[in-house]
Assembly symmetry: C2
Homo-oligomer: 210 residues x 2
Protein backbone atom coordinates (compact mmCIF):
# COMPACT_ATOMS: atom_id res chain seq x y z
CA UNK A 1 0.00 0.00 0.00
CA UNK A 2 1.59 3.31 -1.01
CA UNK A 3 0.97 6.59 0.72
CA UNK A 4 0.46 9.75 -1.23
CA UNK A 5 2.29 12.48 0.69
CA UNK A 6 0.03 15.30 1.75
CA UNK A 7 2.09 18.42 2.11
CA UNK A 8 5.06 16.95 3.94
CA UNK A 9 6.93 15.60 0.93
CA UNK A 10 10.22 17.04 2.10
CA UNK A 11 10.37 15.13 5.37
CA UNK A 12 12.67 12.09 5.29
CA UNK A 13 10.90 8.75 5.80
CA UNK A 14 12.29 8.44 9.32
CA UNK A 15 10.41 11.54 10.48
CA UNK A 16 7.01 9.92 10.37
CA UNK A 17 4.77 8.15 12.82
CA UNK A 18 2.11 5.60 11.98
CA UNK A 19 -1.01 5.80 14.13
CA UNK A 20 -3.06 2.59 14.15
CA UNK A 21 -6.48 3.51 15.53
CA UNK A 22 -10.12 2.53 15.86
CA UNK A 23 -13.12 4.87 16.12
CA UNK A 24 -14.62 2.66 18.83
CA UNK A 25 -11.57 3.00 21.08
CA UNK A 26 -11.75 5.73 23.71
CA UNK A 27 -7.97 5.99 24.07
CA UNK A 28 -7.74 6.34 20.28
CA UNK A 29 -10.03 9.35 20.72
CA UNK A 30 -7.37 11.09 22.81
CA UNK A 31 -4.65 10.46 20.23
CA UNK A 32 -6.74 11.26 17.17
CA UNK A 33 -7.56 14.64 18.67
CA UNK A 34 -3.97 15.39 19.70
CA UNK A 35 -1.64 13.91 17.11
CA UNK A 36 -1.75 16.51 14.34
CA UNK A 37 -0.80 19.36 16.65
CA UNK A 38 1.99 17.45 18.36
CA UNK A 39 3.39 16.09 15.09
CA UNK A 40 3.31 19.47 13.36
CA UNK A 41 5.25 21.08 16.21
CA UNK A 42 7.87 18.30 16.03
CA UNK A 43 8.08 18.37 12.23
CA UNK A 44 6.87 14.77 12.03
CA UNK A 45 4.45 13.43 9.44
CA UNK A 46 1.42 11.36 10.51
CA UNK A 47 0.45 8.21 8.63
CA UNK A 48 -3.15 7.30 9.44
CA UNK A 49 -3.71 3.56 9.83
CA UNK A 50 -7.34 2.67 10.59
CA UNK A 51 -7.89 -0.98 11.51
CA UNK A 52 -10.59 -3.04 13.20
CA UNK A 53 -10.00 -3.83 16.85
CA UNK A 54 -12.80 -6.42 17.03
CA UNK A 55 -11.00 -9.17 15.08
CA UNK A 56 -7.83 -8.55 17.11
CA UNK A 57 -9.74 -8.96 20.38
CA UNK A 58 -11.55 -12.02 18.97
CA UNK A 59 -8.17 -13.60 18.23
CA UNK A 60 -7.47 -13.38 21.99
CA UNK A 61 -10.82 -15.07 22.68
CA UNK A 62 -12.47 -11.83 23.78
CA UNK A 63 -15.99 -11.12 22.61
CA UNK A 64 -15.81 -7.42 23.49
CA UNK A 65 -13.51 -4.73 24.82
CA UNK A 66 -11.58 -5.57 28.01
CA UNK A 67 -13.29 -2.48 29.45
CA UNK A 68 -16.57 -4.34 29.08
CA UNK A 69 -15.29 -7.80 30.01
CA UNK A 70 -13.45 -6.70 33.18
CA UNK A 71 -15.78 -4.80 35.48
CA UNK A 72 -13.11 -3.17 37.65
CA UNK A 73 -11.05 -2.04 34.68
CA UNK A 74 -14.20 -0.78 32.98
CA UNK A 75 -15.19 1.29 36.01
CA UNK A 76 -11.70 2.74 36.14
CA UNK A 77 -11.46 3.66 32.48
CA UNK A 78 -14.34 6.13 32.56
CA UNK A 79 -12.80 7.97 35.51
CA UNK A 80 -9.46 7.99 33.78
CA UNK A 81 -10.98 9.32 30.54
CA UNK A 82 -12.62 12.18 32.39
CA UNK A 83 -9.33 13.16 34.02
CA UNK A 84 -7.32 12.71 30.82
CA UNK A 85 -9.70 14.86 28.78
CA UNK A 86 -9.52 17.54 31.43
CA UNK A 87 -5.73 17.40 31.33
CA UNK A 88 -5.66 17.72 27.54
CA UNK A 89 -8.46 20.27 27.34
CA UNK A 90 -10.67 17.90 25.32
CA UNK A 91 -14.44 17.67 25.53
CA UNK A 92 -15.77 14.38 26.85
CA UNK A 93 -19.05 12.59 27.36
CA UNK A 94 -19.11 8.95 28.34
CA UNK A 95 -20.82 7.16 25.44
CA UNK A 96 -24.13 5.52 26.27
CA UNK A 97 -23.08 2.63 24.01
CA UNK A 98 -19.61 1.14 24.25
CA UNK A 99 -17.97 0.01 22.14
CA UNK A 100 -19.94 1.43 19.24
CA UNK A 101 -20.11 -0.20 15.79
CA UNK A 102 -17.61 1.55 13.53
CA UNK A 103 -17.42 -0.33 10.23
CA UNK A 104 -18.55 2.33 7.77
CA UNK A 105 -16.51 5.25 9.15
CA UNK A 106 -13.50 2.92 9.42
CA UNK A 107 -13.87 2.05 5.73
CA UNK A 108 -14.11 5.73 4.85
CA UNK A 109 -11.04 6.49 6.96
CA UNK A 110 -9.08 3.78 5.14
CA UNK A 111 -10.15 5.19 1.78
CA UNK A 112 -9.15 8.68 2.86
CA UNK A 113 -6.04 7.74 4.82
CA UNK A 114 -3.70 9.62 2.47
CA UNK A 115 -6.08 12.38 1.47
CA UNK A 116 -5.93 15.90 2.90
CA UNK A 117 -9.24 15.55 4.77
CA UNK A 118 -8.32 12.49 6.85
CA UNK A 119 -7.50 14.38 10.05
CA UNK A 120 -10.65 16.47 10.00
CA UNK A 121 -12.80 13.48 9.17
CA UNK A 122 -11.39 11.36 11.98
CA UNK A 123 -11.72 14.13 14.56
CA UNK A 124 -15.34 14.64 13.56
CA UNK A 125 -16.18 10.94 13.84
CA UNK A 126 -14.48 10.76 17.23
CA UNK A 127 -16.39 13.82 18.44
CA UNK A 128 -19.66 12.22 17.38
CA UNK A 129 -18.84 9.12 19.43
CA UNK A 130 -17.16 10.60 22.53
CA UNK A 131 -18.61 14.10 22.79
CA UNK A 132 -22.03 14.08 21.07
CA UNK A 133 -22.69 10.46 22.12
CA UNK A 134 -24.21 9.63 18.73
CA UNK A 135 -24.05 6.51 16.57
CA UNK A 136 -21.31 6.72 13.98
CA UNK A 137 -21.91 3.59 11.91
CA UNK A 138 -24.73 4.89 9.70
CA UNK A 139 -24.61 6.31 6.16
CA UNK A 140 -26.45 9.39 7.46
CA UNK A 141 -23.94 10.29 10.16
CA UNK A 142 -20.95 9.64 7.90
CA UNK A 143 -22.53 11.64 5.04
CA UNK A 144 -23.24 14.51 7.41
CA UNK A 145 -19.57 14.70 8.38
CA UNK A 146 -18.29 14.43 4.82
CA UNK A 147 -20.74 17.03 3.55
CA UNK A 148 -19.74 19.44 6.30
CA UNK A 149 -16.17 19.04 5.02
CA UNK A 150 -17.40 20.01 1.51
CA UNK A 151 -16.70 16.51 0.19
CA UNK A 152 -18.82 14.39 -2.20
CA UNK A 153 -20.34 12.22 0.51
CA UNK A 154 -22.27 9.72 -1.62
CA UNK A 155 -19.37 9.11 -3.96
CA UNK A 156 -16.97 8.53 -1.07
CA UNK A 157 -19.35 6.24 0.78
CA UNK A 158 -19.95 4.22 -2.41
CA UNK A 159 -16.24 3.77 -2.93
CA UNK A 160 -15.70 2.95 0.75
CA UNK A 161 -18.38 0.25 0.59
CA UNK A 162 -17.08 -1.27 -2.64
CA UNK A 163 -15.51 -4.71 -2.45
CA UNK A 164 -11.86 -3.67 -2.97
CA UNK A 165 -11.93 -1.22 -0.08
CA UNK A 166 -13.74 -3.67 2.23
CA UNK A 167 -11.06 -6.23 1.42
CA UNK A 168 -8.31 -3.69 2.09
CA UNK A 169 -9.67 -3.02 5.59
CA UNK A 170 -9.59 -6.73 6.35
CA UNK A 171 -6.03 -6.88 5.05
CA UNK A 172 -5.04 -3.81 7.04
CA UNK A 173 -6.39 -5.49 10.18
CA UNK A 174 -4.40 -8.64 9.40
CA UNK A 175 -1.32 -6.48 8.94
CA UNK A 176 -1.94 -4.95 12.36
CA UNK A 177 -2.07 -8.39 13.97
CA UNK A 178 0.99 -9.49 12.04
CA UNK A 179 2.97 -6.48 13.26
CA UNK A 180 2.10 -7.17 16.88
CA UNK A 181 -0.73 -4.69 17.43
CA UNK A 182 -2.86 -5.84 20.40
CA UNK A 183 -4.76 -2.65 21.23
CA UNK A 184 -5.44 0.88 20.06
CA UNK A 185 -3.99 3.34 19.56
CA UNK A 186 -0.65 1.83 18.58
CA UNK A 187 2.15 3.86 17.02
CA UNK A 188 5.02 2.72 14.86
CA UNK A 189 8.14 4.66 14.03
CA UNK A 190 9.66 2.34 11.45
CA UNK A 191 9.56 -0.99 13.33
CA UNK A 192 9.59 0.53 16.83
CA UNK A 193 6.18 -0.04 18.46
CA UNK A 194 4.51 2.21 21.06
CA UNK A 195 1.20 1.25 22.63
CA UNK A 196 -1.41 3.63 23.97
CA UNK A 197 -2.15 7.33 24.04
CA UNK A 198 0.28 7.58 26.96
CA UNK A 199 3.12 6.82 24.51
CA UNK A 200 2.14 9.30 21.77
CA UNK A 201 4.67 11.91 22.88
CA UNK A 202 7.42 9.28 23.13
CA UNK A 203 6.66 8.01 19.62
CA UNK A 204 6.76 11.51 18.12
CA UNK A 205 9.95 12.33 19.98
CA UNK A 206 11.49 9.11 18.69
CA UNK A 207 10.48 9.97 15.12
CA UNK A 208 11.79 13.52 15.46
CA UNK A 209 15.08 12.50 17.05
CA UNK A 210 16.53 10.48 14.21
CA UNK B 1 -5.19 -1.18 59.96
CA UNK B 2 -3.54 1.94 61.30
CA UNK B 3 -0.49 3.59 59.89
CA UNK B 4 2.26 4.84 62.11
CA UNK B 5 3.48 8.08 60.55
CA UNK B 6 7.16 7.98 59.69
CA UNK B 7 8.45 11.52 59.76
CA UNK B 8 5.60 13.26 57.94
CA UNK B 9 3.24 13.66 60.88
CA UNK B 10 2.50 17.27 60.05
CA UNK B 11 1.08 16.60 56.59
CA UNK B 12 -2.73 16.67 56.46
CA UNK B 13 -4.37 13.35 55.52
CA UNK B 14 -5.23 14.65 52.07
CA UNK B 15 -1.57 15.05 51.14
CA UNK B 16 -0.88 11.35 50.90
CA UNK B 17 -0.86 8.77 48.19
CA UNK B 18 -1.37 5.04 48.64
CA UNK B 19 0.74 2.87 46.37
CA UNK B 20 -0.62 -0.66 45.90
CA UNK B 21 2.19 -2.73 44.44
CA UNK B 22 3.59 -6.22 43.84
CA UNK B 23 7.25 -7.24 43.66
CA UNK B 24 6.48 -9.46 40.66
CA UNK B 25 5.07 -6.59 38.62
CA UNK B 26 7.51 -4.87 36.28
CA UNK B 27 5.51 -1.64 36.14
CA UNK B 28 5.47 -1.64 39.95
CA UNK B 29 9.27 -1.68 39.71
CA UNK B 30 9.21 1.69 37.94
CA UNK B 31 6.96 3.26 40.58
CA UNK B 32 8.68 1.73 43.60
CA UNK B 33 11.97 3.21 42.39
CA UNK B 34 10.50 6.64 41.64
CA UNK B 35 7.80 7.39 44.19
CA UNK B 36 9.82 8.54 47.20
CA UNK B 37 11.67 11.21 45.23
CA UNK B 38 8.55 12.51 43.48
CA UNK B 39 6.48 12.50 46.66
CA UNK B 40 9.17 14.26 48.71
CA UNK B 41 9.45 17.05 46.14
CA UNK B 42 5.66 17.50 46.20
CA UNK B 43 5.40 17.33 49.98
CA UNK B 44 3.21 14.23 49.77
CA UNK B 45 3.43 11.24 52.08
CA UNK B 46 3.59 7.71 50.65
CA UNK B 47 1.53 4.89 52.14
CA UNK B 48 2.97 1.55 51.07
CA UNK B 49 0.31 -1.06 50.25
CA UNK B 50 1.78 -4.42 49.24
CA UNK B 51 -0.80 -6.89 47.92
CA UNK B 52 -0.77 -10.11 45.89
CA UNK B 53 -1.59 -9.73 42.23
CA UNK B 54 -1.99 -13.48 41.64
CA UNK B 55 -5.38 -13.83 43.38
CA UNK B 56 -6.65 -10.71 41.59
CA UNK B 57 -5.68 -12.15 38.20
CA UNK B 58 -7.15 -15.53 39.19
CA UNK B 59 -10.47 -13.82 39.94
CA UNK B 60 -10.50 -12.75 36.26
CA UNK B 61 -9.86 -16.37 35.24
CA UNK B 62 -6.21 -15.70 34.39
CA UNK B 63 -3.62 -18.25 35.44
CA UNK B 64 -0.70 -15.84 34.95
CA UNK B 65 0.19 -12.29 34.00
CA UNK B 66 -1.46 -10.91 30.86
CA UNK B 67 2.10 -10.31 29.64
CA UNK B 68 2.54 -14.08 29.66
CA UNK B 69 -0.96 -14.98 28.46
CA UNK B 70 -1.02 -12.53 25.51
CA UNK B 71 2.03 -13.09 23.31
CA UNK B 72 1.86 -9.77 21.45
CA UNK B 73 1.42 -7.74 24.62
CA UNK B 74 4.21 -9.71 26.27
CA UNK B 75 6.61 -8.99 23.43
CA UNK B 76 5.71 -5.33 23.63
CA UNK B 77 6.12 -4.97 27.37
CA UNK B 78 9.82 -5.82 27.39
CA UNK B 79 10.55 -3.23 24.71
CA UNK B 80 8.49 -0.70 26.62
CA UNK B 81 10.30 -1.46 29.88
CA UNK B 82 13.68 -0.93 28.25
CA UNK B 83 12.62 2.46 26.91
CA UNK B 84 10.89 3.49 30.14
CA UNK B 85 13.92 2.63 32.26
CA UNK B 86 16.12 4.61 29.89
CA UNK B 87 13.74 7.56 30.18
CA UNK B 88 13.76 7.43 33.98
CA UNK B 89 17.48 6.64 34.30
CA UNK B 90 16.79 3.28 35.97
CA UNK B 91 18.82 0.13 35.54
CA UNK B 92 17.05 -2.75 33.84
CA UNK B 93 17.55 -6.38 32.98
CA UNK B 94 14.70 -8.46 31.63
CA UNK B 95 14.12 -11.17 34.25
CA UNK B 96 14.79 -14.70 33.08
CA UNK B 97 11.73 -15.78 35.08
CA UNK B 98 8.50 -13.83 34.89
CA UNK B 99 6.50 -13.39 36.95
CA UNK B 100 8.67 -14.43 39.87
CA UNK B 101 7.29 -15.85 43.12
CA UNK B 102 7.10 -13.05 45.68
CA UNK B 103 5.28 -14.33 48.76
CA UNK B 104 7.97 -13.94 51.44
CA UNK B 105 9.20 -10.45 50.45
CA UNK B 106 5.55 -9.35 50.11
CA UNK B 107 4.88 -10.53 53.66
CA UNK B 108 7.94 -8.67 54.90
CA UNK B 109 6.84 -5.54 53.03
CA UNK B 110 3.42 -5.73 54.66
CA UNK B 111 5.01 -6.11 58.09
CA UNK B 112 7.28 -3.15 57.43
CA UNK B 113 4.79 -0.99 55.54
CA UNK B 114 4.80 1.74 58.18
CA UNK B 115 8.39 1.33 59.34
CA UNK B 116 11.21 3.66 58.28
CA UNK B 117 12.98 0.97 56.22
CA UNK B 118 10.07 0.14 53.90
CA UNK B 119 11.27 2.23 50.93
CA UNK B 120 14.83 0.91 51.04
CA UNK B 121 13.63 -2.66 51.46
CA UNK B 122 11.24 -2.46 48.51
CA UNK B 123 13.80 -0.86 46.22
CA UNK B 124 16.31 -3.58 47.08
CA UNK B 125 13.83 -6.38 46.38
CA UNK B 126 12.86 -4.78 43.08
CA UNK B 127 16.51 -4.41 42.09
CA UNK B 128 17.10 -8.09 42.83
CA UNK B 129 14.23 -9.01 40.50
CA UNK B 130 14.59 -6.50 37.68
CA UNK B 131 18.28 -5.59 37.68
CA UNK B 132 20.18 -8.53 39.22
CA UNK B 133 17.72 -11.08 37.78
CA UNK B 134 17.77 -13.13 40.98
CA UNK B 135 15.06 -15.05 42.80
CA UNK B 136 13.47 -12.98 45.55
CA UNK B 137 11.20 -15.49 47.27
CA UNK B 138 13.79 -17.24 49.43
CA UNK B 139 14.68 -16.66 53.10
CA UNK B 140 18.31 -16.21 52.02
CA UNK B 141 17.66 -13.39 49.55
CA UNK B 142 15.28 -11.59 51.91
CA UNK B 143 17.67 -11.98 54.85
CA UNK B 144 20.54 -10.63 52.76
CA UNK B 145 18.57 -7.47 52.00
CA UNK B 146 17.42 -6.98 55.60
CA UNK B 147 20.90 -7.57 56.97
CA UNK B 148 22.38 -5.05 54.54
CA UNK B 149 19.88 -2.56 55.96
CA UNK B 150 21.20 -3.33 59.47
CA UNK B 151 17.90 -4.95 60.45
CA UNK B 152 17.33 -8.13 62.54
CA UNK B 153 16.63 -10.35 59.54
CA UNK B 154 15.63 -13.58 61.28
CA UNK B 155 13.30 -11.82 63.69
CA UNK B 156 11.56 -9.93 60.90
CA UNK B 157 11.23 -13.02 58.71
CA UNK B 158 9.80 -15.00 61.62
CA UNK B 159 7.21 -12.31 62.31
CA UNK B 160 6.42 -11.99 58.60
CA UNK B 161 5.81 -15.73 58.32
CA UNK B 162 3.67 -15.90 61.45
CA UNK B 163 -0.02 -16.63 61.00
CA UNK B 164 -1.37 -13.13 61.83
CA UNK B 165 0.80 -11.47 59.18
CA UNK B 166 0.01 -14.11 56.54
CA UNK B 167 -3.65 -13.54 57.23
CA UNK B 168 -3.20 -9.77 56.98
CA UNK B 169 -1.70 -10.12 53.51
CA UNK B 170 -4.70 -12.15 52.37
CA UNK B 171 -6.99 -9.48 53.84
CA UNK B 172 -4.98 -6.71 52.21
CA UNK B 173 -5.38 -8.46 48.86
CA UNK B 174 -9.13 -8.78 49.41
CA UNK B 175 -9.25 -5.09 50.25
CA UNK B 176 -7.47 -4.34 46.97
CA UNK B 177 -10.07 -6.30 45.02
CA UNK B 178 -12.88 -4.66 46.97
CA UNK B 179 -11.55 -1.18 46.19
CA UNK B 180 -11.40 -1.91 42.46
CA UNK B 181 -7.70 -2.70 42.03
CA UNK B 182 -7.22 -4.78 38.86
CA UNK B 183 -3.48 -4.37 38.25
CA UNK B 184 -0.31 -2.96 39.73
CA UNK B 185 0.81 -0.43 40.55
CA UNK B 186 -2.43 1.28 41.55
CA UNK B 187 -2.54 4.56 43.44
CA UNK B 188 -5.27 5.99 45.62
CA UNK B 189 -5.59 9.55 46.79
CA UNK B 190 -8.47 9.19 49.19
CA UNK B 191 -11.01 7.33 46.99
CA UNK B 192 -9.62 8.59 43.66
CA UNK B 193 -7.98 5.68 41.83
CA UNK B 194 -5.05 5.91 39.40
CA UNK B 195 -3.77 2.84 37.57
CA UNK B 196 -0.25 2.27 36.36
CA UNK B 197 3.16 3.82 36.62
CA UNK B 198 2.07 6.23 33.86
CA UNK B 199 -0.33 7.83 36.35
CA UNK B 200 2.09 8.20 39.27
CA UNK B 201 2.76 11.88 38.57
CA UNK B 202 -0.98 12.58 38.19
CA UNK B 203 -1.72 10.89 41.52
CA UNK B 204 0.95 12.85 43.36
CA UNK B 205 -0.16 16.09 41.75
CA UNK B 206 -3.74 15.32 42.80
CA UNK B 207 -2.63 14.66 46.37
CA UNK B 208 -0.54 17.82 46.47
CA UNK B 209 -3.23 20.03 44.96
CA UNK B 210 -5.87 19.65 47.64
Amino acid sequence: MTDIPTGSQLLPPSRQVEMWFEFGSNYSYLSVMRIDGLAARAGVRVLWRPFLLGPIFKSFGWESSPFVLQAAKGAYVWKDMQRQCQKYGLEWKRPSQFPRRTLLPMRVALLGASRPWIGDFCRQVMSQNFVADRDIDTPESVAEILTALALPAQEIIREAEAEPNKLRLREQTETAAHRGVFGAPTFFVREEIFWGNDRLEDAIEFAAGD
